[in-house]
Subunit: 216 residues, 2 copies
DNA sequence: AATTTCACCGATAGTACTATCGGTGAAAAA
DNA sequence: TTTTTCACCGATAGTACTATCGGTGAAATT
């Protein structure tokens, strides 16, 4: 058993992390309505009043949560790109595009659940963060699609690419959560579905780029 | 100016409807956290205490909201099926499958926003309703896909159809909200995208039914 | 016309949470 | 060693909301 001879600032930082971790758990289990300074402080093992040593108010805690989440998110995306670059073939890389986010969501489903809630909740302090995150992911998917050989060189095509990316992104989230809820036990099956959906979209983009009509 | 010589029960029913309408507006504008008996009653033009003449408590109001929403939902789905049956061609019918929900969402975006929030919020009284609604819509989409000529006759194929339907449903919601937020001004463009996505999925289903492999 | 019903009212007790305050002891600085 | 700093504490004022109560008058019933 190692003792804990921490400096004051180390101890403070530890408490702060405990608060954030506790907040995340409560947020996931009870929703933003259930997140109170009383519960967070108690779960972190300090007095309710001591909460204010670390955060100006509840809003400030949520802001910190968003910052923390954003940092994790950016790290995860960098890692995903790195992994995808190492894929042996185009096909595998395409599958990675979907497998990696699903894996990531499976590891931290509470983050996605919290984001999906905040995304459409005007009272949520995390709303801006959720909207920004959704945009980042959509653009990520759009870039992946573009990497598969489709270049959008006018307003209409760019909007189409964006819509497809947004749709694919929504489908990815839905299937990842379905996987977490036990309805779709195999991740590879979900990847199959997403690949099939995106193939349809790409086929359409290519054909309509040649002849700018609606699909027949 | 028509006067209002209403019977007592008519007046009570009117007040109840005003409460529900006010609750819906507040729920959309301020989220479930912002929904208080004070605000609902005030918005409906009665005293806060009179709220309890109509509802046992706040939970009861949300239950009523769910019931009301469910009724509207079932009506809208019946109407959608009726309209789709009248479509002149298979292609048009397929487009209708997507156009009709987007139209419906455009008319009442607040309902979808409220549902999407409640869907992943364990503290929400509307959660059960949201989950049930999502299931109904997914099955609706699955039936539509099946109607396009694909029959799932084993466990794997049924699950695939379900996953596709769930993905398509999520994409539909995302694009409909994107349309409401002004990012995708043309509904027909969104329909194009959804048709393309579902075509990819159907193509995959057909090919893998012939030879039960993963897409090459 | 007399009586009953009941939708609505204002007042208020009870509850839960936020945020501030002065105090304490151990770590850090002098 | 002496002094200062500060993370944490318990107590509590202030705020917001829920839900109940007895009272009122007009509609409904008799």
């Amino acid at each position: 058993m190692t003792n804990t001879p921490l400096t004051r600032s180390e101890a403070k930082d530890l408490t702060r992390r405990r608060l954030i971790r506790a907040a995340l758990a409560i947020l996931d289990k009870e929703g933003e309505a259930g997140l109170t300074t009383v519960k967070v402080a108690k779960a972190a093992g300090i007095a309710q009043s001591s909460f204010y040593v670390h955060f100006r108010d509840k809003q400030d805690l949520l802001r910190a949560l968003g910052d923390e989440g954003g940092e994790q998110l950016r790290r995860a995306m960098r890692e995903a790109r790195r992994q995808a670059r190492e894929s042996p073939s185009d096909t595998e890389r395409h599958r990675d595009t979907f497998r990696i986010p699903i894996d990531a969501i499976s590891r931290h489903p509470e983050l996605l659940r919290i984001l999906l809630r905040a995304r459409h909740d005007p009272s949520s302090s995390l709303r801006d963060f959720a909207v920004e995150t959704a945009t980042v992911y959509r653009d990520h998917h759009a870039a992946d699609l573009a990497a598969l050989g489709y270049t959008a060189d006018n307003e209409r095509d760019r909007r189409r690419l964006e819509m497809i990316a947004e749709g694919i992104n929504a489908a990815t989230n839905a299937l990842a959560l379905g996987h977490m809820e036990g309805r779709y036990p195999e991740i590879e099956e979900a990847v199959d579905v997403l690949v099939a959906l995106s193939r349809g979209a790409l086929r359409w983009l290519r054909s309509s780029q040649a002849s700018p009509e609606r699909p027949a």
